[in-house]
Amino acid sequence: MFRFDTTFTLIKKFFIYKVMGSNLFINYSLGGMKVMYRLFGVKLTNALIENTAGTIFTGGVSLQDLEREMKKAQEERGIGTVAMSVVEGLKDVENSKLDEFLDFSLKSIDTLTQEGTQEGHLALKLTAFVSTDITEKQSQAQEYFAKNILGVSYQQEDNSILSRAELIKNLNEAGIKNNSEAELDQLIENLSNDDGEMTAVHRYAKGHLFPLYGKRSPLMEEIAQKCGGLTSADFTNIDLFEERVRVMTDYASRQNCLLYVDAEQSFIQAAIESYGQQMTHEHN
């Protein structure tokens, strides 16, 4: 692996690894970075980082930098690249900002696949396309829906079948009492196998309160409101988020780019996992 590096790069790597591996660095570097940004400014501090640790641990700042690093890894070492655009999930973020990130993701797919001529790999956070406060509420609702309403146990040996009466009882316990028969029939159909049974596996694999590739029924919205505290404004933002995800996954699929959904903290993970699972069912 190291035989492709120049001696200078090797020595640089050795010292940077030594420093980065020390407890002192690990425990205090974030604070140190903040102080440097204040003392020397963003430009100078970034230039220093980019020319030292940045060259070793990152693919650079822009898509052009990434493309160069990707080619180098493939041509010199026969090693592929999974690109990961680092974005921290934000609260109360403007939709225009989220749309900007969608555009950037589409451009990243073009770069990674060389305009669709080769297999590409992009890791992403779904929280880059929606505010984390909404994802948190969605997760709370999704978790309640799966565990308490559908009785998903996540036990491999679970062979239980949920009856219509049990489902109604669970909905009632969640405070949902006035659902129509037609809505209930639709929910049961979505969760059942060919024999019309809501098996443990079907409830696990199809129990998505926020369908990415289907219609969200008023019953589902009521569950989301009661169990996650989602508002009508949140639903509008969820619609925009789901549209962004569909645009991106469809484009990635056409361009032969594999998408890797980054897992996040437990309090937002149930929604992320649910969307990731639906994407897998649709595109794998």
Binding site: F2, G21, T58, Q156
Partner: protein
Amino acid sequence: MNGYQCYLKRMDNVIPMEIRASQELGYNLGLKLIRGAYMNEERQFAEKNQRESPVWDDIESTHKCYNSAVRNVVSSMKSEDLLFVASHNQESCDIAKNLVSERDMKDLERVRFAQLRGFSDQVTSDIANDGFRVYKYIPFGPTEQVMPYLVRRGQESRQVLREQKFQNEHLKKEILSRFRLF
């Protein structure tokens, strides 16, 4: 494909369930197995909310969960399924490589490996030399976001740092060998 965090206790059940669901519903598996990067945050959050921590109590349990997931998936996967072994851990990678070879699935390239750029290059190199598909996970973007992200990975994963020390030995040998040549 989803990332499955093996430092979470529930993964012992979720991953077998995911395998069973893919078999019964007839879709292709797509799993990226990771150990997880939010251990401290998860523990603090659980403590604050007076809940049981969702994270295994020790690193050995996380290793056990990860390795068991690798065995489960590779032993049962179909030719169109895809597993991404995102790990810096030599033992986990060896388990996956051996099982793939035993099942004669190497040419299908449906089990792939990945390590973060700059970390565990020796592990990456060994996997590539053994003829498996291996990737470097390359973070990119504004420096003020990327570097804190990497530092947090280092803070969360002392294991990676232990692997890094192992890598440094190889690096030192390579540097010394260059000077001997001159």
